[in-house]
Symmetry: C2
Subunit: 309 residues, 2 copies
C-alpha cells in the first residue's frame, strides 16, 4: 500500500476493501455497520481473555449491560447537550390497526412513515459505563470504592468510510468509583497496564492527551477545557493509515461528574469520582490484522502466545 | 414458591425479585431491560460453548452481526407489516447548532424533543438471521446449500414483568439456506439436537407447534396459517411459572420467503428455502437457574460436566 499519494478517504476505502475481500468484515450497505467472520470474532474473544487474565487479581465486579439504556437515565447525563449528533433514540409503533394502516399507506406513498412511531423507554447506549452509574444511585461506596468490569456494544451515529469508525462496536471497560485519588490511581494504573497489554500483542501504541467530539462551537470550548485538565488519554495506533492514528483504547477521568449526576457518595460523604479505561475491541482487532496480517496463524509467535492462538 | 394462588403477573414479579435479589439480574427501571452479573454471563458463555462443540462437525460458516441492521434491508422484509409493534427504529439528531438549541429548549419545556430527530439508516435487528439474507442477495448457492452459525442481540419492543421476556436478548442461530428438502432436514436435525442439548443440561423441554405474534386481526389469520403448515416449533420449559411455559428455543421453516425477498437462488435456479434454530440464550440461562438453583456450583454434576463448570 502506498498511502503517501492517497487522500484519507481513499486510504479508508482501500483498507475497508482489503478487510472485506479477506472476509474479516462483511458490508451491510450502511457506512460503519459491518458483520464479522469467525476469524475476526475469535481475535476479539482472545484479546478479551488476555485482558481478563491480566485483570483477574483485581477481583472486579463483572456486570454486563445490553446496547440499550433507560431513556430517563440517558437524559440524566449531559450526552444530549454534548453529543446530540451521536445519539440513538429508539422508536416503535404503539398504535392500533387503523394507525398501522396509515403507517403502511405512508410508506407505500413514499412518505416518511416514521412520523407514526413514538419514542420508547430506551435509547442506544453511548458508552459501556453509562448503564452502570444509575444502578449505584443513592448508594454510599465502601472506603475502598468499587471496581467494575464491563463490556457492551455501544452506538454512535457517525457514518464513516473509515473501517475503524463503526456505528456500533464493543467496549471492554474497567471503571473505578471512589475518591478522586482512587479514580486517578485507577486511570494511571490502567493507562500503564493498557499500554503493556497492547504492546504484548505487538501494538506499539502512543499515549496522547485527547478530547471527546463535543458538538458545535460551545463544544469546542468543552474540548479545550477537557484537554487542559488532562481528563482524557488515548492509546493510538495506525489502522487504515499512518497519516491519521486511531484511538484503540482510552482512559478517562470524569471528576465527580457521574457521582454528582447519579448521587453516588464516597464513604466520607463526598460525591464519588470515577475513571475508566475502555478497550475498543473492534479497533484493536483491526489494528492487529493491519499490523500482523490477515491470517492469525502467521502472526508472530509471542503475539500468538499472549492470545493463546 | 406457591404458584397456584398467584396471578401470572405476580408470579413474574416474584421470579424477577428472586433473580434480582440473587444478583443475577440487575434492574434498569425499564420492564424487560436488565443487566447481568458474571455468574449469569458465565452460564450463557458455557451453554454456547456446549452448542459450539456439538455443532463443530457441521463446519458452519461463522458470521456475527451487531444489534442494528440496514433500514433498507429491514424494509425489504415483511416485519413492518407483521410485527410493527415490536420494531425498533433508530433516530438521531442531524441538525445544526440552532436546531440543537431548539431541541434542548423543547426538552426544558417538557415538550417532545424527539420531534427534532430524524430516522437514521438503521433499525434494531428483529432476529439474528435478518442481517444474513441481504449479504446473500443475488447469489446462487452451491448444491449443498449454506449453513451459517449466527449470534446477535435482537430487539423486540414488548415491555413485560416476565423476566423471560426481555426487550433485548441474545439468539444463537444456525441457519440453512438451500432446497426445501435441505431446509426441512436442517430443521428436523436441529429440533432433535436442540432437545438433546437442552436435556443434557437438565432441561426437559416439550416440543410444540407454535406461531409468531403477528400484529392485529389480519395477524390472527397469519398465525393460524403458520400453525396449520407446521412452520414453527418451540422447545418450551417453565421459567417464572409452570402455569405458562416459555419458549427457550425455536425451530422455524421459512419456505422460500427470504430466498424470494433477497433473491437467493439454489443451484437449480429456484428461490432458496431457509430454516433456522434459535437458542434464546437469556431464557435458557433463566431456565437453568430456576431449575437447578441460583448457584451453579451446586448444580447436578452431569449438568456441570456438560457446561464445563
Amino acid at each position: 500500500m502506498c498511502m503517501a499519494t492517497m487522500s484519507l478517504n481513499d486510504a479508508y476505502q482501500h483498507c475497508q476493501d482489503e478487510l472485506v475481500t479477506a472476509g474479516l468484515l462483511i458490508r451491510s450497505g450502511v457506512p460503519g455497520l459491518y458483520g464479522f467472520n469467525g476469524v475476526f470474532e475469535d481475535v476479539i474473544e482472545r484479546f478479551e481473555m488476555a485482558v481478563t487474565k491480566r485483570a483477574k487479581p483485581l477481583k472486579a465486579e463483572v456486570m454486563r449491560f445490553p446496547a440499550i439504556i433507560n431513556r430517563k437515565h440517558y437524559l440524566q447525563t449531559t450526552h444530549i447537550e454534548n453529543f446530540p449528533d451521536l445519539m440513538g433514540s429508539v422508536h416503535s409503533f404503539l398504535g392500533n390497526e387503523r394507525d398501522h394502516a396509515k403507517l403502511l399507506d405512508k410508506r407505500t406513498r413514499g412518505d416518511d412513515w416514521t412520523t407514526e412511531l413514538e419514542p420508547t423507554e430506551v435509547m442506544l447506549t453511548p458508552a459501556a459505563c453509562y448503564p452502570l452509574y444509575p444502578t449505584a444511585t443513592g448508594t454510599t461506596l465502601a472506603p475502598e470504592g468499587r471496581l467494575v468490569d464491563l463490556r457492551s456494544f455501544v452506538f454512535r451515529h457517525e457514518p464513516s468510510p473509515d473501517p475503524a469508525r463503526m456505528q456500533i462496536f464493543r467496549q471492554r471497560e474497567f471503571v473505578r468509583m471512589g475518591t478522586a485519588e482512587q479514580a486517578l490511581e485507577h486511570r494511571a494504573y490502567w493507562l500503564q497496564t493498557g499500554q503493556e497489554i497492547l504492546n504484548s500483542v505487538g501494538l506499539q501504541v502512543d499515549s496522547v492527551v485527547a478530547n471527546d467530539p463535543f458538538f458545535g462551537r460551545g463544544g469546542r470550548m468543552m474540548a479545550v477545557a477537557q484537554k487542559e485538565q488532562d481528563l482524557k488519554f488515548e492509546l493510538v495506533h495506525a489502522v487504515a493509515t499512518t497519516e491519521k492514528l486511531t484511538a484503540i483504547t482510552s482512559c478517562n477521568y470524569h471528576l465527580d461528574h457521574f457521582g454528582h449526576t447519579f448521587d453516588i457518595k464516597t464513604a466520607d460523604n463526598e460525591y464519588a469520582h470515577t475513571a475508566c479505561i475502555g478497550f475498543g475491541l473492534e479497533r484493536i482487532a483491526l489494528a492487529l490484522f493491519m499490523t500482523h496480517g490477515f491470517d492469525p496463524d502467521h502472526w508472530p509467535s509471542d503475539v500468538k502466545s499472549v492470545l493463546a492462538l
